[in-house]
Amino acid sequence: MQRFTRLFNELDQTTKTNQKVEALVDYFQDASEKDKIWTIALLSGKRPPRSVNTNFLRAWAAEVGEIPDWLFEESYHVVGDLAETISLIFPQSQQTVNRSLTYWINFLKDLKTADEVEKKKQVIGAWLQMAPYERFVFNKLITGGFRVGVSQKLMVRALSRHTGIEENKLAHKLMGNWQPENIDFQEFFFSDNPEEDLSKPYPFYLAYALDGEASELGDPSLWLAERKWDGIRGQVIVRDQKLYVWSRGEELVTEKFPEFGILKDKLPDGTVIDGEILAFKEGKPLSFNHLQTRIGRKNVSGKVLRNAPVVLMAYDIMEARGKDIRNLPLMDRRDKLEALVYEANCRDVLRISEIIHGKDWDDLAHERKSSRKYNSEGLMLKKKDSTYKVGRKRGDWWKWKVDPMTIDAVMIYAMRGHGRRANLYTDYTFAVWDKDRLVPFTKAYSGLTDQEIREVDTFVKKNTIERFGPVRSVKPELVFEIAFEGINKSTRHKSGVALRFPRMHRWRKDKPASEANSLQDLYALLEP
């Protein structure tokens, strides 16, 4: 697995996309076909199931390394990553053995059924054969926490260079329910299988957030505007009288939304619709919280179905009557979509995402302001003649989000970061005033520049009041403007509210703590 480890390291250490692609192309050149398949699977998020409980792993590593538990904990706080801590704590190997990635994945699969004593023996035996960084990658595989900083898009680009197959075609092949165990590299990529898996979705076209003014997009009549719904992006497929629902994470979620079952009778075979799955009741979308209650559950109970029923808010169509129509202009696709939705006539589960009309950009900006009323995050702007593209592309589709809500808050706790920020205090807890008392209401850890993080880190280290493990309470002096996308009542939080996507918008160096906002200010932002 040394070659794979090197790839992991190369991908991990660079942020430059070119270098990532180079590293992958090189790797594909060197690796065996079976290892290539597994690598593609891993980089597509198909991980082997977790075969050993992480508590065992840490206990075994500490035992062999002769490290007491508390020292393991201390080390873990500094390293910030369990798999890495284990790999470093473990004594250095005398002699490493280079086995293939496929070997170790099969090893892990066999391990799943072994008893605890056998698992311990096997895992320690494996660690002994590895160099620390290889051990780290191996641990990531065991714990099922394998993630690499490379997008599917880059992986596909490299694979395209390696195989000579077009990126679009590859992306499509790689979607869906394929199993790395049963695949032959040559056959999978080079034979045209007419019996392509019926469930296979299309890659989603993803929009970028608009960074400039909407008016810079030119003539507004060339653009279609609709609400940016705050749900789960979903793809509904009806083929051969079967229904498949995919989420954007390329997860087959058909079972989670039994409401959509009816669509296989209402939509013709060979239909693929793109839309937003929304919790929806009494003609109105519910907040994302409602949907969240359903996502985490294995079984969707009757109660959940009643409390948070879903609809598909349809906004595009990729396949009609069995034909891939992604290259038609948006307005033509939209015509077909509207006709289908109309004919299906089941508004309680399938709706069309309305076009928002405005005679000019000011009009649309006005509509955008009202987004929160519709539980939406802003507007989507789509070029009327745009084709349906693959992945995240600039130019034709834009997210035009509403400005976030903001509040000025005082930092009162800081916690060490994880992963690449393990040496710094990067995660903060913020409070607002309730009379003369500071009440914590949110955590936030993004939004500052590296320079600012270092400044805050220095402040934390110099102004610590108390330490609790990795957390320090600090003098309430620093004020930050916290931005967030939504706010809800919450009984689980001391402050009585929960924020959506809180982040640090600005460091208010100009404000003393006494001028931060109050709990009353925060309540005033709650939806009426």
Partner: protein, 346 residues
């Protein structure tokens, strides 16, 4: 009263009337080594190893009152016998041994166990009280032999050269830079240096230290001079416009903090090489065992954890806070960008 105490000025020996690495101005200072957090400005008299002198003069000015000793030479001050012993940290670095009426204290300063060929090999000194650093005092810090690290660095340099790129390696200008320069394979190409590094090189050469040949990058530096060279620069140079001269280049950092993936990624350099002038976990434990000390005092670094570890192993240990910048260097090293002071040791 113990022979040494921790005061707000530094580690103090009342009997001899001297301080060791004091952080506020005092009359008499013994200096373990030339890093800025150990050798500060404003003392009346400095006493250090003779290889530390050129560095102190470079940093603090030639008008400081300075006296030097060699390793193992004994000085007697009011009944206290004082001697300097190799610490293996950087050129001229020393552990300072103080003995009074049979009771022996050793102040380690910063140290590493592996002999880097420049700093003198670390020498275990038997003592009753050992004041140790523990910058890397957690079991996740374990160094590979430097030979292997230099093989990696030279291989990377060679590869860059083949790809038509300049190689830039970042390391502290006093200590790390010279160690890197000595570890490079000069058959690959020329070694260029940043001014901060070259000033130290020059001071050391004037003092008789022999180093591989280096070329100072000056303001009128011409790109044609690059051909496959490696540039040795301090952390403060990373990310500045000074680097533009070397385009296209691949950049790496040599530091003990690079042992953690988080720190490597945070620095967002092309390569992180785990190379430190401090003892790793194994080295710290080895040094303490070999000192035979009955009582250990941990300063800068993961002091609490390390002292607890020692206590549980049956070695009495306590913690003292100092102004040595274990924590500060952690900030700079762990966080990328410009270091507050590129002399802060690592």
């Amino acid at each position: 009263m113990p022979l040494l105490q921790f005061t707000d000025r530094g580690i103090y020996c009342k009997r001899a009337g001297i301080y060791i690495d004091p952080w506020k101005p005092v009359d008499k200072a013994l200096i373990t080594h030339g890093h800025a957090d150990h050798a500060r400005y404003g003392h009346g008299h400095y006493l250090c190893h003779h290889h530390s002198k050129p560095v102190l003069q470079l940093r603090l000015g030639t008008n400081i009152e300075i006296q030097t000793v060699t390793y193992h030479e004994s000085i007697n001050v009011n009944g206290v016998t004082i001697s300097f012993h190799p610490a293996g940290h950087i050129i001229g670095s020393a552990q300072i041994r103080l003995e009074y009426k049979g009771c022996i204290w050793v102040v380690s300063g910063d140290y590493k166990i592996e002999d880097d060929g420049l700093s003198g090999a670390f020498e275990p000194v038997k003592c009753h009280y050992f004041i140790t650093e523990c910058t890397f005092g957690l079991p996740v810090y374990k160094w590979r032999p430097q030979k292997e690290v230099f093989d990696d660095i030279n291989h990377w340099w060679q590869k860059n050269k083949e790809a038509g790129k300049t190689t830039v390696i970042i390391g502290y200008s006093l200590g790390k830079a010279q160690r890197i320069i000595q570890g490079l394979d000069t058959s690959i190409g020329p070694i260029l240096t940043h001014g901060a590094v070259e000033n130290i090189n020059q001071a050391l050469r004037n003092d008789g230290v022999s180093l591989n040949e280096t070329i100072r990058v000056t303001a009128d530096f011409n790109k044609n001079q690059l051909n496959g060279s490696i540039v040795v620069a301090p952390p403060s140079a990373a990310g500045t416009t000074w680097m533009k001269k070397f385009h296209p280049y691949s950049i790496g950092i040599a530091s003990g903090w690079m042992g953690l993936r988080g720190a490597r990624r945070r620095r967002s350099v092309d390569r992180g090489f785990v190379l430190s002038d401090h003892a790793d976990w194994i080295g710290l434990n080895q040094a303490i065992n070999e000192s035979g000390a009955e009582y250990v005092i941990a300063t800068h670094g993961y002091t609490n954890a390390f002292a607890r570890w020692l206590n549980e192993k049956g070695i009495q240990a306590g913690v003292e806070s100092t102004m040595f910048e274990g924590e500060l260097s952690e900030i700079n090293e762990g966080s990328g960008g410009k270091a507050v002071n590129d002399e802060v040791q690592n």
